[in-house]
Symmetry: C2
Subunit: 333 residues, 2 copies
Amino acid sequence: MTASRYDVLGIGNAIVDVIARAEDDFLVAQGMHKGGMALIDEARAQAIYAAMGPAVEASGGSAANTIVGVASFGGRAAFVGKVKDDELGKTFAHDIRAARVAFDTKPATGGPSTARCYIMVTPDGERTMNTYLGAAQDLTPADIDEAQIAAAEVVYLEGYLWDPPQAKEAFVKAATIAHKNGRDVALTLSDAFCVDRYRDEFLDLIRKGTVDIVFANEHELRSLYQTADFDSGARALRLDAKLGVVTRSEKGCVVISRDAVESVPAERVEQVADVTGAGDLFAAGFLVGLARGKDHRTAARLGGLAAAEVIQHIGARPAVSLKARAAENGLAV
Amino acid sequence: MTASRYDVLGIGNAIVDVIARAEDDFLVAQGMHKGGMALIDEARAQAIYAAMGPAVEASGGSAANTIVGVASFGGRAAFVGKVKDDELGKTFAHDIRAARVAFDTKPATGGPSTARCYIMVTPDGERTMNTYLGAAQDLTPADIDEAQIAAAEVVYLEGYLWDPPQAKEAFVKAATIAHKNGRDVALTLSDAFCVDRYRDEFLDLIRKGTVDIVFANEHELRSLYQTADFDSGARALRLDAKLGVVTRSEKGCVVISRDAVESVPAERVEQVADVTGAGDLFAAGFLVGLARGKDHRTAARLGGLAAAEVIQHIGARPAVSLKARAAENGLAV
């Protein structure tokens, strides 16, 4: 195993978020499933945008948010994802590079525009997402650079990558390279509906060892094993995965390995403004901890710190240095 | 005087803000004057964007922010300003219309792109602005619709309109129509450097009565009358303007009319996150109060409420309903 250039390399959909506050009534009128992520086409995107309130735009994308979190902790980070060479694509590229993340994926010069996610934030801080995948659909195995993947301690993949047609091939190519080089592969299950769409494939990835580390929240875990009972889900994951990390919102998280099942409490949060990015940033802290050789409990606490920061403001990327936040909490990384 | 359709109609530069946090060192390295607004060309815009940190995009523009504030108070509001029919132009148009503001100015189909303001927010909450005027430069008298101007109780103009070459002609055309219809014309001096560029013209507008109501902060007032002494500036404004409203940050404001000079204290603010839009939103509250027949003190308190709301979060437009905020404070409008 050669020396690494990156602590974490993420592969995901490159998306710009369009974020607006909305009342629950708006979700009902628009037929949106609160708390979920729906895939939409261009026509629906235009209809939603026309109906929604004043918005702010900020770079997003689940794995991209995680990778920016890794960089904010001072981790060495890279991202692979597809934008178009349009205004939003330039915005996405600027923001991720300005966060000191290596981002070298060639933008598409034709085809659909850069992906957008229309996010409604209700007064309780919950977010409801509508994703137009656009150019993100055009990520292919050709976008996976062998040398770059080989140079990352952990390759982190989002389950949402199963939605674009060729991205899963890119995903498998990256996992194969990583393992050939003695690296770990992590997967987030992304969303309970996403698990519903690809349950058998996800289980296959985990059981065959294509994926070493699985991130999920309670809903995703229950969906994966089609059980209403958290403990049965956790037991099943323990048998299937090398390492499982299940987040439970204000109840903290459970780290599940062959050796132990550890519960780690959540950070205290004053007021939840917008839960967008909570899971993404939890993964950032956990992965940084892992890459830096911390124990699972410490990694989970780093994840909790990052998640607590991101839900106290609008937007899915950290507003402060997570490295500084970790140091303030006696968790230097 | 016919019945009005709008409480306030604003004319200003239609701009999308690109907002990033920055340390004071960054301003020094970039040769930026802290707290000011600098006009930049496209090349400088690209250089600043390449150097600045991860950003969020949100519709802005001084008078546009004011008009959105008026609408948030429940006021009937219209805006006139020039975007291009590009992505950012569509974003600007969406956001202002979604705020229930009438916005009918035809977008430019060629020429420079929609205006952008690169805003650095330092840890003290101060903002430093760099404006690429782009399509906003192409506002001309042809964009002023006589019937629409005639239908507004108050026409509100930003001093920044003196920067684009033909906008001042649009400004004068609008003021003439307003007065012919018995309406009031208000002007914000915008920025001390802007006053420096156009001092004689601004004084001329005020003294000739082209403008009835003048909004300024302390720095702008001092620059207008080239005095270090606030009281001399206030006395001079009292002689020149029908009504002057001078904001003094945490010291509140002073309302200066021929009859009286009244000081009104500021609202208490927990923590200043970003002062962008403070003056714009103060004007919104004051103008709504005026249009609804409130006394000057009440109008000033509405202005203070709106300013206090906007400086407690990132971005220059209200994040909550100002109508509700006013009602909570016993100031139903």
